[in-house]
Subunit: 385 residues, 2 copies
């Protein structure tokens, strides 16, 4: 097990009616920037509830709406201009990971002299930030309880993650009922995202982080159990609740600290996101099985056997490569059963930018479970063309 | 899944050499009360390291040593007198759960006008506390990352837990090497304590907290895997590290929130602790199998099957009661294999106070997995006399 520093001060108010706890936002000042995406929070009545609570608290609020999935640096710049102009004290994100990520970088950019994109390119430049509060409406990215934010620069075709402990939300409100209206496709993509975060932590060259590995398996089992239920019964509270909390735990440090390594599938997918603006979880689902098959080797087969036996309940007595391949096949079959595409062509990606994307991956060198070079990235992309 | 509020701001510095992070204590002031037990922290050289860092920080420190296992209210009173007298800013606990629990209540008692025991009897009276910092030397109670403290009043024969979010350590230093010198018997008792915390969370009448249940199983598997290794190889870093972190996670909210229920075996054991001053984990180990057998019924058998299949790897195809009983037998056999006593007479407890203890249990009504009355408590005690 590696040394680690666990520092997650974010408070979580979880469950039905948790929105009442939004009143705690009053601790952080009187002027709020309300950040959200499209119309969905209005359709589900959440917008009105938020506004009512802010009004009851006699808070002034300003709005940044229309934040895109794969949130753009333009939205961040726009938000920070609003914050500076109105002397905003606290940034309130109402939405999924994209909205929360955008709100986080707005919070940092507001108190930064230079351009917001610098904070994405170099996280060490984040030395201060407004407080962030989140109301989560999608089980997926885990942004509600960590310091990460991924921002896209369409102009430069870059989708890059930044991080600061200062970006961790002060508190997050997680009501599973707020995810009842999430579409079938987005629910499936969210499940793939949660599983991918867990895989990035689980498939590690670090030895001896046994408890973390077992917890990763817990989250994977939760996704496998409740993913299909949430698709079939979108208002099944237990399914939505378990997926929502699993999404948080997958990437708040509980799974990674002590066995942390570089990530592999996320950087490969960030290239797809930057070039094609596809749904993040969909890209991860497409790339996961070919990545698994590509890195399977004499060195790594043991970990895949562990995965197959502990997560998929495969018989431990058998040829290790057979068990490993069956585990990978089951992973792919599971994503397929959720209705997720399994090839790049299904999401409109052809070979045009493959070399460029693979080169970009190599520039940041993927030192993960198995280090990946340009050649490796190309091979993985091509396997699912 | 029940609604929950997760709020654990304690920072953890985990791993070899983590003691260097004690320097962060400077954030909380200049005057420290150093709380510890007997000589062990001096023998292992930890005391000298702590003193060196406090001196480098130019901090004044005062000492309360000799804190007992099952820490006494007298120690708390003594500590708070020292804090008031010397204008202490921060309480530093160096030891296991007893020392940390004692330090927590000292921190609250220092800023309380009345007698410290009132804070144990009525946690709502804890409205302020000095900051607490912990250096953990025993994997067991999880006190390093929660707001609980259990204090014994020998005079009134009471061992009672109190709780406040204000008692959560600001940060805790967890170096598995600090547990290398823990004796075989105390290591075993610690494992039983961690497993018991997990059981208290796992055996719950609350439905649908699937992810929490799987995480509980992760911790149980970790104890079962590494407990024997730590006994055989006391300096096995991975064994000590996994047990240490499992001990924290067993009772910091990750296992309980969303499925929280009243506890059963701990209140039964607190009576033993108050009347006989036995080692906490030993009492828990003795009482766990008879409690399991006692509450096994048509209503609860499903949970025991889940436990047997998921933790002990028992074949799910079979008579449920057979699986359940085998799971309980394996639990007992595991504790025995760690060298733990399995009867009360082995730890010098006879029938003398049984009725009194069972009555005390009932006074606080055990509304746990299965509610327990006086009769039930008596039956459980008698089963292991």
């Amino acid at each position: 097990m590696k040394n680690f520093h666990y520092n997650v001060p974010t408070e979580i108010f979880f469950g039905k009616g948790a929105i009442a706890n939004l009143s705690h936002i009053g601790r952080y000042g009187k002027r709020v920037l309300l950040v959200y995406g499209k119309d969905s929070i209005k359709k589900m009545g959440l917008y009105d509830k938020v506004v009512r609570i802010l009004e009851q608290l006699d808070m002034d609020f300003f709005e940044l709406s229309g934040v895109d999935p794969n949130p753009r640096i333009e939205s961040v710049r726009q938000g920070s201009v609003l914050c500076k102009k109105h002397g905003v004290d606290v940034v309130l994100a109402v939405g999924g990971g994209s909205v929360i990520d955008c709100a986080k970088v707005i919070a940092a950019a507001t108190v930064y002299e230079g351009d917001a994109w610098e904070l994405v390119l170099d996280s060490s430049k984040i030395v201060d930030a407004l407080p962030v509060v989140a109301i989560l409406t999608l089980a997926a990215t885990g942004s509600e309880m960590n310091g990460s934010a991924v921002i896209t620069n369409v102009e430069t075709r870059e989708k890059i993650g930044t991080y600061s402990t200062l970006l961790k939300p002060k508190f997050s409100i997680m009501d599973p009922e707020h995810t009842f209206t999430v579409s079938r496709a987005m629910t499936a993509a969210g499940v793939a995202d949660i599983m991918s975060h867990t895989f990035e932590n689980y498939f590690t060259p670090v030895k001896g982080a046994y408890v973390q590995a077992r917890i990763c398996e817990s989250l994977l089992k939760t996704c496998i159990h409740y993913g299909p239920i949430a698709l079939d019964e979108p208002t099944n509270y237990e399914a939505r609740a378990n997926l929502m909390w699993a999404g948080t735990l997958a990437i708040n440090g509980i799974c990674s600290l002590g066995q942390q390594t570089g990530w592999s599938v996320h950087p490969l997918q960030h290239q797809l996101g930057a070039y094609y603006d596809i749904t993040h979880g969909v890209g991860l689902a497409i790339l996961t099985p070919p990545w698994m098959r590509y890195v399977l080797s004499d060195e790594t087969v043991g970990k895949f056997v562990e995965y197959g036996v502990n997560v998929w309940g495969l018989d431990a007595n058998g040829d290790p490569f057979d068990i490993a391949n069956r585990a990978i096949d089951q992973t792919e079959a599971f994503f397929l059963s959720l209705g997720l595409p399994m090839t790049l062509s299904e999401v409109g990606i052809d070979s045009r930018y493959l070399e460029e994307m693979a080169k970009n991956c190599e520039r940041r060198t993927l030192q993960g479970f198995v280090p990946l070079t340009y050649r490796d990235s190309m091979a993985i992309y091509k396997a699912v063309l």
